[in-house]
Point group: C2
Chain length 590, copies 2
Amino acid sequence: MLRAGAVRKTLYVLFCAPFLLTPQIQNQPDDGQWTMPAKNYASTRFSTLDQVNSGNVKQLKLAWTFSTGLTRGQEAGPLVVNGTMYIITPWPNLLYALDLTKPGAPRKWTYTPGTSASSQGVACCDVVNRGGVFYKGKIYYNTLDMHTVAVDAVTGKEVWKTTVGDINQGESITMAPLIVKDKVLVGNSGGEFGVRGWLAALDADTGKIAWRGYSAGPDKDVLIGASFKPFYEQDRQKDLGVKSWQGDQWKIGGGAAWSWISYDPDLDLIYYGTSNPGPWNADQRPGDNKWTCTLFARRPETGEVIWAYQMNPHDDHDYDGVNENVLLDLNIQGRLRKVLAHPDRNGRMYILDRATGEVISAESFAYQNTSDGVDPKTGRIHYVASKATGFKTVRDICPAAPGGKDWQPSAFSPRTGYLYLPHNNLCMDLQGVQANYIAGTPYVGANVKMYAGPGGYRGVFSAWDPVQAKNVWSINEMFPVWSGSLVTAGDVAFYGTMDGWFKAVDARTGKPLWQFRTGSGIISQPISYRGPDGKQYIAVLDGVGGWSGAIVAGGLNPQDGTGALGFVNAMKDLPDYTTKGGNLYVFALP
Amino acid sequence: MLRAGAVRKTLYVLFCAPFLLTPQIQNQPDDGQWTMPAKNYASTRFSTLDQVNSGNVKQLKLAWTFSTGLTRGQEAGPLVVNGTMYIITPWPNLLYALDLTKPGAPRKWTYTPGTSASSQGVACCDVVNRGGVFYKGKIYYNTLDMHTVAVDAVTGKEVWKTTVGDINQGESITMAPLIVKDKVLVGNSGGEFGVRGWLAALDADTGKIAWRGYSAGPDKDVLIGASFKPFYEQDRQKDLGVKSWQGDQWKIGGGAAWSWISYDPDLDLIYYGTSNPGPWNADQRPGDNKWTCTLFARRPETGEVIWAYQMNPHDDHDYDGVNENVLLDLNIQGRLRKVLAHPDRNGRMYILDRATGEVISAESFAYQNTSDGVDPKTGRIHYVASKATGFKTVRDICPAAPGGKDWQPSAFSPRTGYLYLPHNNLCMDLQGVQANYIAGTPYVGANVKMYAGPGGYRGVFSAWDPVQAKNVWSINEMFPVWSGSLVTAGDVAFYGTMDGWFKAVDARTGKPLWQFRTGSGIISQPISYRGPDGKQYIAVLDGVGGWSGAIVAGGLNPQDGTGALGFVNAMKDLPDYTTKGGNLYVFALP
């Protein structure tokens, strides 16, 4: 017994101790709640609850359900705070509060923001919403029609509502805000509508806009000043947000901040990425198009940029840089590094020093043939010339526009040291055509046809070792794995599939442990919480849709492969496998 | 042991033997399938499966789900035949085939009948459909826009589609057909649109209309001829379908056959009821208005009427006579009687000799104050004069227009001898106003305000002893119990509530045994079947709606109590308790 204990302790020190240093996780002991989409500022989506574990997960039983009453793509996951569950829906962006202290979780109230119907016209890819955040007694979230709202978490009354942009300029919002130091951080969508991307900070109490940092334009608009210290030489010139464009193209050049934000309290930096430049037709916008496809590190209180790193200069393939940044403190080659792990659309897993923006590694986590490396000196990616796009047709581009991974967020377990990546295996043919800018209308300039990548499957759920920079195990799925992932201290990783299976796998081995057939396909974010009864629950919403599922959620014609910017071509069979939906499923052990 | 066995045998002979005589049940040994909505021609909704019983039902676990992708009221239940489950949706009336032999029951195919969108405009009370029937390799059902379709059960290909009426005349179809001797029996809806009601028989192979029996008009149209032998003197005159009306009012007088049909193979008679006369304003249509609110017994092959019995001559309260007829052979006062049990909208449980149409008993199963008895000599109901309506306002009419019970079908267990009644407890104020007939538009002439009946609850699930003609036990529910019921050989009765609970109770005592929280309220028909794996499954769809739930399914304004013909006034709080939905739930023991 003593011996086994000693061995266990040694293993623990060797393998687990490094991860326990992750300050964001240490600083947020798990109270069984789920107050922000990614669970914590480090965006690990790791639940310390362990009642449900790899040994007993096969006994999971559906405890109760709830219908959102809507059937567009459901990308948000629930929040759980103080015995109440909050659910935010796709357009028209209802907020439901469910009472977890009562049998069947009856509704306490419904908040209806009155989201304008015409905002649906500027949503590139279904009318999704990625969730809200609880902060000091309020639920904060964004509406498709360019508003941020604060709602009293107890009463459901609107506290404030701020107009943050203009749908007539092609702007919309689908992202979940993050709140740091009383600043509600919000970014726009619209990379396919020629918007000028930005991230704004609103005062959490009043809703007043405190700062707005654009993704392109003069340094003063980007909030680049004296504190700006990018790691690489090439990024240190003045006003690159103007100079790396032709003429005024930066004004309609995309770089939207439509996805995830992380925060490191010790370094006092927020991290997020910017979208593709517009239009997709790369010949129409010479230059590096900074700061699109870029990771920004900013101060939360002022918006000042501390460093920036552009993954895809002069993006040729709609490789938005918006994917999540998971903040980890890793022991890499004998040295403790504060890193961020960023699985980019381009198929590479960027491990960056999050204090400086230095690229530590950038290995491929998905099949890709558009780049052959990142120069360690310049930090610049090296593109494969034959895959450069413009006024021509280029075939067999891998990954396709939705990338090796799109918005669907990964999780990280400090127990295994692995990242759990829900992702895609898609390639495309792209024909560049002339795009003409008309405010509020699509500005793309590309005819795209997507299809399954090598192997014929379209999705993957995999475990990635960020220290070794290599894949550990992977599970192929018929359709893109468009849901978020969740991993727990019970060593179970959860994800959902577009054909309607909610799956649990062994976090160490990837062995399938349990699955449940949901009504519709899943593209939302699973969570885990401790109920008022002390039990651990796992919750997920179905409701297929989003860019990948627009063929079902929007009822698109399977005969027109160019629908949903060419995604329909890859998803023609999805309507045979799933139907629209929008139900919550809450599971527990019997 | 011997002694207990002897006692058990005596009890069995005393209490169970009478019910075993029910020929419809004897003739249809349970193969674990569910081929027609009411399970069998006798309409008992009794499953002989007993794996799930009153002792273990609390262990029921959700096995899998399926989303219909639609969120209007779901009144149909599934069919299960040859390892395939079939689901028919509200408008646009999709037919899904799910493969029960594979994990998660993937879809085999979807049949889309192309139901016209404008048919939604003539649906009085949500765009529901009550299901289909399997017969000799095909699935038959009706579409809201007046078509009957036959679909190959294996391939999903349409075999035939017949136009049976005209939505421009206010006709629609919501009922499930019954097939008897290769005749597909179909009736129209539209009692609130001034239609002329009928039941038609279509050839099952070709879809050609074989006969059509109207509910009003000359005897030749009603198919009343030499074989017509009504039990009561008052019904024996010629052409009562004309003479009991003023002028030509019978041509737009309602009497739609929009609900259930039963069949007795031994007597070779089909049984069904006709709807209210139109308009609701009774002063506008003097006379008995035959044959509205009437039970018909017809020959399935020719449509000939053998007998008819009018429950509500000159109906004052929208008391349609369409409710189900459960065919039972009962030992009543020492005599074996072939009866039908018909729980009428007027709140009385009619036990009729189904060979002759004689009223054996007609006791109240729900609170009612509109009639004080049925004359045993004349068969005529005696109305309470103060509740007669017309060009005036009458208050406190009980039951309200949806009746003591509406379409929601009851079940019967030969093991307990009880009928299980899902029903209403509603009263109303009714103000008669002038109705003007314009083809294809509402023809009602009444302003109605409904509210909860005595006790304040709006729904009841009860067990009724048809031999003793009395209530055995009852469970009060907040909202009308608008779902069908199911009872099994495991002595468990199932029903669903509009606030989203699927419930199992002890069939003998009414003791609650188990409940499950569904996403949306339930108004559909639960079923039980044996899966290809040999397990017993219980299946039910959620999706609140129908007349009672139109406030949610149709998004009606709670401020306008006159909405849904006055039902909204009684259901103002429903939106606080449930949301739209449309998911299938399939349960089994672990």
